[in-house]
Symmetry: C2
Subunit: 199 residues, 2 copies
């Protein structure tokens, strides 16, 4: 007989499939659920199983939505001439938290990464092209991550969107707010110099 019942092993294995959860954490979470009142795992189970039926990608911008359109796309007060292109739905939340952007979004679903076999066709770039050529959009802000794949994607989109009479911009690179210059990496400092602004 195994030391631990199969149901316990199974739950630990499923927790271990989540990102950033190693075998030790998975075991700790499993034993927490064992000791907690039954409604703790039950409520998590019901929230999980309801997820994919209750939520789907917005048909316009591919952010998460309950119906056809997400909360941003269905808000008539948003500026439809401004489009912010991000990699993932979580990036939309980050931009919204900044309170700095009042346009619409376009979620690519990732970034170009030839090493992982992710080319333009694997992302929602064709759909971006269609939205842009439909006419409303005047400026596209490319907000892909400031890493190799995100930069490559931004460069690719910049080339592809050029010549549509659009303004295409990229989020500024520089020192993060509250950071210590002393601890900043050299690429960040170099970019902060390149992008310096007159006071």
């Amino acid at each position: 007989m195994p030391l631990v019942p199969e149901a316990v092993e199974r739950l630990a294995a499923e927790f271990g499939r989540l990102p950033g959860i190693g075998p030790k954490t998975a075991q700790r979470l499993t034993f927490f659920c064992l000791r907690a009142p039954a409604d703790v795992p039950d409520r998590l189970a019901s929230a999980l199983s309801g997820l994919h039926t209750a939520v789907r990608p917005c048909t316009r911008c591919f952010f998460i939505a309950e119906g056809e359109l997400c909360a941003v796309c269905s808000d008539a007060r948003r500026d439809a001439s401004l489009l912010c292109v991000v990699e993932e739905p979580l990036d939309v939340l980050a931009v919204e938290r900044s309170g700095e952007f009042h346009g619409l979004y376009h979620v690519l679903g990732g970034a170009l990464s030839p090493m992982d076999g992710i080319g333009p066709a694997a992302l929602r770039i064709r759909e971006l092209g269609e939205r842009v050529s439909s006419g409303d959009v005047q400026e596209v802000v490319i907000a892909t991550d400031p890493d190799v794949e995100g930069e490559a994607t931004a460069y690719y989109l910049g080339e592809r969107l050029a010549g549509n009479g659009l303004t295409v911009s990229r989020l500024a690179h520089g020192l993060p707010a509250g950071a210590d210059l002393e601890y900043a990496d050299e690429l960040t400092v170099a970019r902060a110099f390149t992008g310096r602004r007159a006071l």
Copy 2:
């Protein structure tokens, strides 16, 4: 309309109830489940909802079991004269991994903590007394955690079990294997001196 569908907020809130999972991690796990194929959250949901029906405490030692008795208690090759007292079911796994103990366990369900209102009656100390007085047991190894509550519990149990004709021992304190003396805290070094052994 809220930015994120209610089902997404709900899942993030439920993830956030788990120990060591803050709001940011809860959000990251939720968005992972959104992007993953539906069977990833579904399998986690089914593992969670099956937990409390499939598993219960062993009626003898309070480790986790599928039936009446856990895998350790139902193993006739274990030495019933030796009892290892631990705080939590996870501690049983730690002792088993060491391969050093071949007796039975007794899971207290916590440690004495008057500040949190956890007195002897809140732990399975009465049940421990009954097992010990039933006759088979000759040695009790107290393996509560080496922290304030665990030490207090060990001291309390030592007093309470004394005079039963039993050997009562406590796990050794000292330097953990592979540790650096230079980085060890003063209490650990002090205890390693107190417990030093002839070579």
